[in-house]
Chain length 355, copies 2
């Protein structure tokens, strides 16, 4: 176990009820912090009260965006234990993102240990109402103050925790999606497969325009031909066409989602035909015209599964499954959230108990 | 004039000599700060001692990169006056970048006033040795603490100042450039024409690989066909082919440099043929083969003009002007830096005196 200095708060906070939680606005009492200095490596792991940090105006993250993050979840069981969903999958991706951003490699075991210690201290912050969870946000920022464009010589790693409400407060409703034909999220040779601020900065203007037009999300197409499907806002996307599950292959500009991986593993274990390949928006519209587009849904850590009811592309709109949640999307959602909340046996070993 | 609250430091710092300055490592005593809150607009303009700021770990800039910046320069004349180079050009671009990042519009006159007040207070920090200047870095970060991906409801604007050394400490030497065929900086429909951290985060891995291979900079090609020239690292690029000045047109993925604009205006005033159009790397190599590629140079705020001595593309290398600084690049550099340092009459009204 890593030796971590612990500085506890004087008085602990109170976990609000489900309705007041929202997403990512409330934080627990403590956070994990660790520093990196060139020549010294990662050092000074510590758990300290959550709160403001001293930042220099010239730090590289503010100017040149050298930063990465992850988003994972922990759940409370009916008998008050805390389980984390696939922690090593997320932490290994964290390190892969680091490589894209020239951020020094981290010791996954050390971060894992730190997370376990932090969750042990904060276990009362894990909500237990149906659908709630504790959202875990590890992130690294380049904190060297320097205005030249360069790879930083110092970094700070944080793990912060936020209890979050049930994602579908008003039920599991299909979303209406705009197929984006003006903005581009990422390109081959870019940072699309890394979890880094740049990809999200890219999405803001498109998201604003789509909201203003009444859509709930944006579906990104490839940067080169503007026809191949990439991903949705903060999720991967999957299609059920004629009984087959089809999703864009990980081509370098798409984030390799852990929920995507989970869904594909589950579908294969259920005996479905699963194909990861290039798929164009025309193909999806044609499948719909032939009556073969059975379901469309997103997969991501926040919502787990998000059914898509409508797709609009250059003014043409198709309605999927009568704008109702598909049977298969519901089955996936029920299974994965069932395992997460300990109501279904964890036969794939997705969950790790915090002991 | 905007009413700005001023909180001065107790004891002012000392401007180091030229050699100790470097680029972007030393900051003046004070900075300008202003806040934005939804429903209230930009408010609380103030000049305070330069130093650490209180930052929340969950602020949107750390996670989703909602931020913009500018980079401009002030110069000291022989008779101790301070002149800024084309301030409105930079501040108007700052606002254009804000729009790309869904950051609320700023009042350019107000920021200009703030800059003048800050420079008046810090005039002793403007170095006066040949080639030195005071680098001015306005920037905005989204400081709302929120883990959902969204346009922030609060921002902080800063202007920080850094005295910088002569860029060419060892003389005005041509740089060797790698034409990048693996990484991509920006794409149409992306953020390439905004001055925002995402574009620089994109460049880090390519820059590291180019340095390791012995190159000084990277030349970016377009994201779609990977053949049209975009820009160099932190500069625009220009070619002198058969007496004509050719530079890539501003196509949406290239930053519209103020030095680029200055060079083009100057070339036109000198009666040269100036063309802004799509230009491929093959065309440049062919012009070289025909003996028509006279000069290649970058333009940017930091270096002003940077001659290119070698271009390497997929293992092929061309040497430009015998790897010597071209006569025309030298003429442009001498003219622009001459006006900046008040040695040449400012007939284009580029300079604004801080009064």
């Amino acid at each position: 176990m890593t030796e971590i200095q612990v500085n506890k708060v004087g008085k602990v906070g109170v976990l609000p009820t489900d309705k007041a939680l929202g997403f990512g606005k409330i934080f627990t009492d403590h956070m994990f912090v660790m520093d990196y200095t060139s020549g010294k490596g990662w050092h000074s792991p510590r758990i300290i009260p959550y709160g403001g940090l001293e930042a220099q105006p010239a730090m590289i993250v503010f100017h040149y965006g050298q930063a990465i993050f992850e988003g994972m979840k922990a759940f409370k069981t009916a008998d008050n234990r805390v389980n984390i969903f696939r922690p090593y999958e997320y932490l290994n991706r964290f390190n892969r993102s680091a490589k894209h951003l020239c951020i020094p490699e981290m010791d996954v075991e050390q971060i894992h240990d730190a997370l376990i210690q932090l969750l042990t201290l904060e276990k009362d912050w894990v909500p237990n109402q149906p659908g709630t969870s504790l959202y875990i946000r590890p992130f690294v920022v380049a904190d060297e103050p320097h205005l030249g464009v360069k790879v930083a010589d110092s970094y700070r790693l944080f793990i912060i925790l936020s209890p979050v409400a049930a994602y579908y407060a008003t039920g599991f409703n299909p979303v209406s999606i705009k197929v984006e034909d003006k903005y581009v999220r990422a390109t081959k040779g870019g940072l699309g497969e890394a979890k880094t601020p740049a990809n999200y900065a890219m999405s803001l203007a498109a998201q604003q325009e789509a909201y203003a037009e009444g859509f709930g999300q944006v579906l990104w197409l490839d940067a080169v031909e503007r026809k191949y499907i990439e991903e949705v806002g903060t999720m991967n996307i999957l299609f059920k066409i004629n009984g087959e599950i089809i999703t864009p292959a990980l081509n370098g500009s798409i984030l390799g989602g852990i929920t995507r991986k989970t869904v594909l593993e589950l579908c294969r274990s259920w005996g479905l035909k699963v194909t990861e390949r290039q798929i164009s928006i025309e193909e999806v519209f044609e499948a719909h015209a032939k009556g073969q587009l059975e379901e469309v849904f997103g997969s991501g850590t926040a919502a787990v599964i998000s059914p898509v009811g409508e797709l609009s592309w250059k003014g043409q709109k198709i309605v999927i499954n009568n704008n109702q949640t598909g049977e298969f999307a519901q089955k996936l959602f029920d299974y994965i959230t069932g395992v997460q909340s300990n109501k279904i046996a964890d036969q794939f070993n997705w969950m790790e108990e915090v002991k």
